[in-house]
């Protein structure tokens, strides 16, 4: 007899079977007990069907959710990339003409979203300029940081770019 850490008495026999389980060495009896357990055909087929079909359905729904989420993330990344680029290219013209900042990013972003089959109403595209989107003519030109945020259902992402005006 051996005493373990909690003070309980453990038989040598149980220690040997535990050791063989950990090391993978079999003394014969343990594995044959397991294989005989799985070879036993008794039980309810209905219960087995329900259990395994619900497990499969759970796995399938998880895989579909994951692929949908990944698809939306890729779409949002694409919107950010193209929207921000269009905005940077249009900003100089916008500053001169005084038109609304963010117009180019939203237009391009919506067009990209449409290509990915995203629902236009659920898609939110916002542009933030730091320190400001408007550049006054009398002020010395300063760099503008553009931050574009895109939200679509549970996916939200942002990307920034610096626009230097000379």
């Amino acid at each position: 007899m051996v005493r373990d850490a909690s003070g309980a008495v453990v038989s040598l026999r149980s220690l040997v079977s535990l050791g063989s389980l950990v090391t993978g060495r079999t003394s014969g009896g343990y594995w044959s007990a397991i294989s005989s357990k799985f070879a036993d055909q008794r039980g309810s087929a209905t219960l087995e069907f329900l259990l395994f079909s619900s497990l499969s359905a759970l796995l399938l729904s998880f895989a579909i959710d994951l692929s949908l989420l990944q698809g939306r993330q890729l779409a949002v990344d694409s919107i950010l990339r193209h929207g921000l680029r269009a905005e940077v290219l249009a900003l100089e013209t916008n500053l001169e003409s005084g038109s609304t900042p963010g117009e180019a990013a939203v237009a391009v972003g919506r067009s990209v979203g449409e290509s990915f089959g995203l629902d236009g109403e659920a898609l939110s595209i916002e542009l933030e300029c730091l320190p400001s989107c408007e550049g006054a003519a009398d002020e010395p030109p300063q760099p503008i940081k553009l931050v574009l945020r895109v939200r679509y259902q549970e996916v939200e992402s942002w990307h920034s770019a610096v626009f230097a005006r000379f």
């Binding site: 895989a63 692929s67 990944q70 698809g71 694409s78 990339r81 193209h82």
Partner: protein, 97 residues
């Protein structure tokens, strides 16, 4: 498995089509330059796969649009999971005429 793989590849193919259309539109490139651009984008967005594409100009009341239709046909291991052909179309406004 096939469903997930198809959904993933479809998004990648769409990303490729959208990128090609917008790169061509933003840079105001001639459509003749599209081959070089498509090869670069394919290496970046669809590594190891060879998508084919057709680019054209579409004129609507709002102006000209570059239309890119991309087609990806599976081969090898992917084809053994189910013969697939993914097609995506993207449009981008352009100044080209």
């Amino acid at each position: 498995m096939q469903l997930v793989l198809t959904a993933h590849l479809k998004t990648r193919v769409t990303d490729f089509a959208v990128s090609l259309a917008h790169e061509l539109a933003l840079a105001d490139r001639e459509l003749a330059d599209a081959d070089w651009l498509a090869a670069q984008l394919a290496t970046e967005r669809l590594p190891g796969l060879s998508p084919s594409y057709q680019a054209g100009l579409e004129t609507s009341s709002g102006g000209s649009l570059i239309v890119v239709e991309t087609r990806l046909t599976m081969g090898g291991l992917l084809a053994s999971l189910g013969a697939l052909e993914l097609v995506s179309t993207a449009r981008a406004k352009t100044e080209l005429e």
